[in-house]
């Protein structure tokens, strides 16, 4: 049963901007910080309505993370905004010591994640950030899939006490989650129920998985599509429940295959229910300049590659069943 409806195309970073404004209206403790990327992060509406609660840091991301950590002391809930690369790799030790190890209630909001940043190239296209962030004890890692979900997640994280990494992107992409769907941290969303294979997808790859699912349906293959928007803590129960039915898995993410969603799913499967699994992810490479669509195709992250991964994993599932017989 399909639970999605395509409505329009919007960027997830605009979902963040709208969510930040709403979070600011609901909670006077919410403050925002930015390292010279206000327009890119769509923070203008918040700044206009709450100028005294906005802090322009300049091009100094390390300082931004430290200031955010300090601001929590006294009760503020800081949202930091910059590109994903500068939100993680550039400031890993600041996040590790001053935020994660210090149990600080900072929301690290990271735009332009992954290949779909496009033409700026690999210096800015971080594909390692999910791994970096999920390895930090106590860090919640969220990668929403469209405008509505990003907006809802941005609002929801203000209510969660503890450090959060919220990852979203630059390009305009389909909006398909219900606008009124509440965001529950750590609760997977079943986009489409199916029988033959489970596709666990996160971020921009959820829409690609939906497209793949429609192709697969034409081939007579019933794919269950599950949106893992919260990579940590992972919804282990939903993963195992689906796998118990479909007996094979494809993971799909805009991230290095090392350390991302796929590895989190694989770890659960190895421990509880080892079934065949294929990854749709970047194969331990840096990206390059190009349009988002060109890059997603070249690095094997589009619907076509998900279909191929499903076909591979179904062959393995069949051979496993045969060998058992």
């Amino acid at each position: 049963m399909k639970k999605y409806t395509f409505t329009e195309k919007k960027d997830t970073r605009s979902g963040f901007g709208a969510g930040l404004l709403e979070a600011g209206r609901r909670n006077p403790d919410v403050v925002a910080l930015c390292a010279d990327l206000v327009g890119s992060l769509k923070m203008e509406a918040f700044i206009k309505e709450f100028p005294e609660r906005f802090f322009q840091i300049g091009i100094a991301e390390a300082n931004m993370m430290g200031i955010a950590a300090g601001m929590t002391i006294g009760g503020a809930i800081p949202y930091t905004g910059t590109f994903a690369n500068f939100s993680t790799g550039r400031v890993y030790d600041q996040i590790r010591q001053s935020i994660a190890y210090s149990d600080k209630n900072v929301k690290i909001c990271a735009s332009h994640a992954g290949l779909t940043l496009g033409e700026d190239g690999a210096t800015h296209q971080i594909l390692e950030d999910i791994g970096l962030m999920k390895m930090l004890p106590g860090m919640t890692v969220i990668n929403p899939c469209d405008y509505n979900q990003t907006k809802a997640a941005t609002i929801a994280i203000a209510e969660h006490h503890g450090p959060v990494y919220l990852r979203f992107g630059r390009p305009v992409v389909p909006v398909f989650t219900p606008a009124d769907q509440p965001f529950e941290i750590g609760k997977a969303w079943t986009v489409n129920e199916g029988e033959d294979v489970t596709i666990f997808a996160t971020g921009h790859l959820v829409w690609e998985a939906i497209q793949a699912g429609e192709e697969l349906e034409k081939m007579g293959i019933s794919a269950e599509i599950i949106n893992i928007h919260t990579i940590k803590p992972l919804d282990v129960e939903s993963v195992l429940r689906s796998v118990a039915k479909t007996r094979c898995v494809v993971s799909a993410e805009e991230h290095n295959r090392l350390g991302g969603l796929g590895d989190s799913i694989a770890q659960v499967l190895i421990q509880h229910d080892p079934v065949p699994m294929e990854y749709v992810a970047v194969n331990d490479q840096f990206g390059q300049s190009g349009t988002p669509a060109q890059l997603m195709k070249k690095y094997g992250l589009d619907a076509e590659h998900i279909v191929k991964a499903v076909q591979r994993v179904l062959l393995r599932k069949k051979s496993t069943v045969t060998s058992l017989v």
Binding site: A62, G66, A69, G70, I73, G74, D93, Q94, Q97, S98
Partner: protein
Amino acid sequence: MQSTSYTYLTNIAGQVRRDIVRMVHGCQSGHPGGSLGCTDYLVALYFQIMKHDPSFNMNGRGEDLFFLSNGHISPVFYSVLARAGYFPVKELATFRKLDSRLQGHPTTHEGLPGVRISSGSLGQGLSVAIGAAQTKKLKGDNSLIYSLHGDGELQEGQIWEAAMYAAHNKVDNLIAAIDVNGQQIDGPTEKVLSLGDLKAKWLAFGWKVFEVNGNEMPEIIRVLELAKESAFKGVPIMLLMQTNMGHGVDFMMGSHKWHGVAPNDEQLELALKQLNSTLEDY
């Protein structure tokens, strides 16, 4: 201030110095040099200058807050916190031992009262102090933020990001201090990486600068009081505090060799002979 009060503060400092060498000896690790050098400053803050509540609440509303950025001088921080009533003095004996709240470097993670940020990886504390200062302003809380940094720590770039930011944003409820002892792990700062004219640098970054002998209690108190009077005037405040690494223990004084080395039994005995127990050892 009466001279009897200086005697009171100096006595506490003597006991804190005993605590430091005994803690570091007890686990045969830790950093006595910088701890001994900064003892007088921390005693002045916690026993005279700051308005603070040892029953400890993380948010510290209405209180002056202190942030230790050079976290390796944890022995002096822990001793001063314990002596000020934040946690039982006897807990100092657990320093750097398994399952202790007194980790090698200070952390909030084990719930030790008095600690509001983890530090150890250098260069991060000034940013944190600025953030806390800005939340105080946002909440209409007119108390002050204090922070302490090593001079070697100024080699970290983040310090200068924070320096620029604090002046631009008029973070004038912050009184930072630098322990200028001229020493770092690999040798004198002048040999490892020169810091240049620190006063000129901080002035150029738009801060108000005070210079003080950090091992003279009356002078520390006088300059900290002056610094307080200079708060809320549109500029962040920096104390350049000349100290002796290892101050109070003759064979540890003025050398980088005691930055991160523990005394043996014989050296402990020699050190304790030079430091009077005024509040009873833990």
